[in-house]
Amino acid sequence: MPLLTGVSVDQILFALLNGTIYGLLLFMVSAGLTLIFGMMGVLNFAHASFYMLGAYFAYTLQPLTGFWLAIILAPVLVMGVGILVERFILRHVHEHGHAHELLVTFGLSVVIAEMIKMVYGKFAVDYRVPAELNFAAFSLSGIDYPFYRLLMGGIAVVMFIAIWLLLTKTRVGIVVRSAIYRPQMAEALGHNVPMVFMGVFGIGAALAGLAGAVAGAFYTTNPNMALELGVMVFVVVVVGGLGSMGGAMAASLLIGITNSLAVGSDLRIADLMSLVGMGGWAEDLGGLLTMRMSSLAATLPFFIMLLVLVLRPSGLMGEKE
């Protein structure tokens, strides 16, 4: 099998673990986006900007409060920004329809990126994993596995469970869900529906802020980070199905793991074609057919998105068309 030559079990294990953790990070950011869309029908272009704000807020707070308090306070601040955005910008635009919301949030993302550049400069800032958390959790055939990666994965899992319980098992969850499906009825029963929407938007923003505060220290905190992750987050939400929390989780893991496995693989389309006796022809043709999987890794999520849109336009677990 050309698929597995020179690959040890340890390596595959590592690839799976890496992919899972990266997927969980993607979930942390896309959870807020899909929550907001699922509940309010707002496709928030500025969502990845909240992720960036979370990282920069935590970077600013860290020297004053220490790391742990910083990653707790940063999402709270981002929630504040989110609430302001909903109350004073989105609410006025909502009645004009989706195109206006998209444009407003797109503009907002540009404004946030430029403001970050003005305040913090154009280059990456020195927001790092604190020394006491910077150690290896375990070691497998010579490679250390950073503890912080496990921590990021753990936070994402806790977050997923918390949102799930909040929405399905509590009274708040019932009010929120009813406000989404029957806003007039919920209002008639005395619930403040605009307040519910504002809260949902704020929480969604806070989730992205938390992801930024945690991941910004591990990756880099720079003015382009919203752009870098933003596209991938949209891919996740589309693949998972707009508005579906479970779908976002499934899509994040799918994309994280395929990406991680693809990087480690030297498989070429020509190799696959040789299984049906067309290998020689593919070699002659060259081009895309003889490209290694590893150099196409970052393109795979988009390929998955294309496939899902063709075969199941509502996404893996989406209900809305």
Binding site: G6, S8, Q11, F14, A15, N18, G19, Y22, L25, G121, K122, F123, A124, V125, D126, Y127, R128, N134, A136, S139, G142, I143, D144, Y145, P146, Y148, R149, F218, Y219, T220, T221, N222, P223, N224, L227, E228, L229, M232, G256, N259, S260, L261, V263, G264, S294, S295, A297, A298, T299
Partner: protein
Amino acid sequence: MALRTFARSTAAMALAIGATAAGAEPLKIALVETLSGPQASTGLLYRDAVKYQIGKINDAGGFGGEPIELLEYDNQGGPVGAADRVRAAISDGADVILQGSSSAVAGQVTEDVRKYNLRNAGNEVLYINLGGEAMELTGAKCHYYHFRTSPNAAIRVNTLLDGMSEAGVLGGKVYAMNQNYSWGIDVQDNTVAAADRLGFTVVEQTLHDVNKIQDFSPYVQRIQAAGADTVITGNWSNDLLLLMKSASGAGLDVRFGTAFLDQPGNIGNAGAVAEGHFLSAPFNPEVNQDQTAGFMEDYKSVTGHYPSYVEPVTVFGMMLLQEALKAVEPTEDGLNAADLAVALENATANTPMGTISMRAADHQAVLPMIVQEVSRDAVYKADNTEFGFVPIKVIAARDAEQPVQASCKMKRPG
């Protein structure tokens, strides 16, 4: 469109009338850089450096008794924007076009300039490439009106490998990790080509997508599996930072040999992770202290920060242009680009790092390179950290020089 052309020609006429009254028309130099968007940080550094040295030229009397006029155009980071801006610059009367960040953009600009010059014989414009380091620009795409004042992939990689080998840190197993476009492929090819000469094996070569990857741990795993001692990479910006951080997080004991580790923010973000890694660059503030210190302070007093990354070599390139301009007679409409091309081929400039010159055969600058290591002992610290770059080996211009590529078939006028 018609209105814009009209407005432009009216403006040009007004300028022309104003200029004739004052004497000869001032020389116009156009900087076509990425001044907005995600990649603007590097473009703005090019602008600072160009402005600095043009200020010096104008202080010394400018050109033909008139100060040089610097026109700025934002190419928005891509070849499409650049093509449009180059057209605008030429129609605004620029005789020289400057551009540096991204080989992809440089490839577009050099082709546009070549084609324009074919159609407008006798009225050529000159392209000075301040930082596009892909080999094809002085190889298959080379032409008489393109000049590169920065090093290229062959110079970077060979000086880096020589310096690391001599310092005894190269090791026997080298991993080539690069971005999948012209520059990254050149770095990979040059690394492989140097293997026999320096006696190492290239255990694996990887090309990956450019600035799209957040999580480098799968790549680090490959480096580990290959058992590499050293990773040679042309990566820049996030692709370099994330790769280094990921390797350090995995406890991988490899040394990185890089081309762009000195980009502002890198050392600040990587911190101790960067310690001991190598860089080959055309500048280090600790070399020739007696001249360099003055340059450092003067640059800071003008721009507000010490020169780093692409700034010093850009200043040196503009010094070369300054020397060439001294040998050119001004004409009524600025200058004759063909004259300037001849003068540039013969120009040498004395920079704080040593003498740089232009090779006539392929218009590649011949310049000294400094192999350096990230260390706590550095005099000038990077990004307010305790780390900076300590020179390990200064490679003289003629030793850093690499052979002219056979693919360069330059057609000389006349």
